[in-house]
């Protein structure tokens, strides 16, 4: 993350955000579902056999966890960026222990209700470049002066 804040004037349409490289370990998923208080463990999120019983190739990352990863495209961009809305579509399941690339691109900028605002397309890709999760982020950012 940049140490200094970014301002509205610093950002242009088409600017790329990230990428962030991640790999979600089974241990991380187990900790996440404990915070969540999942009531039926083992589940498709933590147990490969439970996942295979549901027709999945292996244990998968929970949607709420993928959502948190996607938000980090914005929270990791600059401390001055404030995420106002994140809208996500799950296109494919996200596996454990696999390299993931999270990235965004600024698709619009303007002033909405008096606030400088950015719209970004965001996505998560696997190592083959398949987009597993896609979405849109609405971000507010301060203007200079």
């Amino acid at each position: 993350m940049p140490n200094s804040p970014l301002y509205f004037e610093d950002v242009e349409m088409g600017d790329e955000v990230g990428p962030i490289e991640r790999s979600v370990t089974t241990g991380q998923v187990r900790e996440f579902v404990q915070v969540w208080g999942a009531r039926s463990e083992p589940s498709r999120f933590t147990d490969p056999d439970a996942a295979k019983a549901e027709g999945l190739p292996g244990a998968i990352v929970p949607g709420a966890m993928s959502m948190a990863l996607m938000s980090q495209i914005i929270t990791g961009w600059s401390p001055s960026m404030v995420l106002r809305k994140l809208d996500i579509v799950f296109r494919q399941t996200v596996p454990h222990n696999a390299p993931l690339k999270l990235q965004g691109i600024v698709t619009d900028k303007g002033v909405v209700d008096g606030r400088p605002q950015l719209e970004c397309d965001v996505f998560m890709e696997d190592a083959e470049g398949t987009r597993l999760v896609i979405g849109k982020a609405t971000v507010t950012v301060p203007a200079r002066g």
Partner: protein
């Protein structure tokens, strides 16, 4: 082709708020959420200066949304259910010691027809408010039902 009017489900649930529980928020939960998701921003994990001030990451309320039980809408369509998508609008900071109260409502049920056949979407909106009555987050979750045969 299934029109929205032809979808069979319990329409009396549309727009009706259901209380789904209260959720105490602890610092430990917030830090575990950040640790498990690789979140390292100082606002969420502290800056190492000894200050204990942190707020929850913007999608934190999702952990509660994922665990709530919703009324059965008695949808008569499809034999496969999938989690299709989600949106979150963080409205106010969530801090350790907060107690969140959630209500959920069935916002919409609609049909879409594509190459793989007709799918019916049910959209639930869950609102989280803190102990001061401020809405801290709105979470929308979209579930889809489709026919297995249409997929093959």
């Amino acid at each position: 082709m299934t029109s929205d009017q032809e979808i069979k489900f319990d329409r009396s649930l549309l727009g009706v708020e259901h209380p789904v529980g209260t959720f105490p928020v602890t610092r430990e939960m917030m830090l575990a959420f950040s640790r498990s998701t690789g979140e390292t921003s100082p606002a969420y994990v502290g800056d190492g200066s000894g200050s204990d001030k942190i707020v929850a990451p913007p999608t934190f309320c999702n952990i509660f949304a994922s665990s709530i039980t919703r009324p059965d809408i008695k949808l008569e369509f499809g034999d496969i259910g999938l989690f299709a998508g989600q949106s979150i609008e963080p409205r106010a900071p969530v801090a350790p010691g907060d107690t969140l109260t959630a209500t959920t409502k069935l916002k919409d049920v609609y049909a879409k027809t594509g190459r793989s056949g007709t799918m019916v979407f049910a959209v639930w909106q869950t609102s989280f408010a803190n102990q001061k009555g401020e809405t801290v987050a709105l979470v929308e979750e979209s579930y889809v039902r489709r026919n297995r045969r249409a997929q093959e």
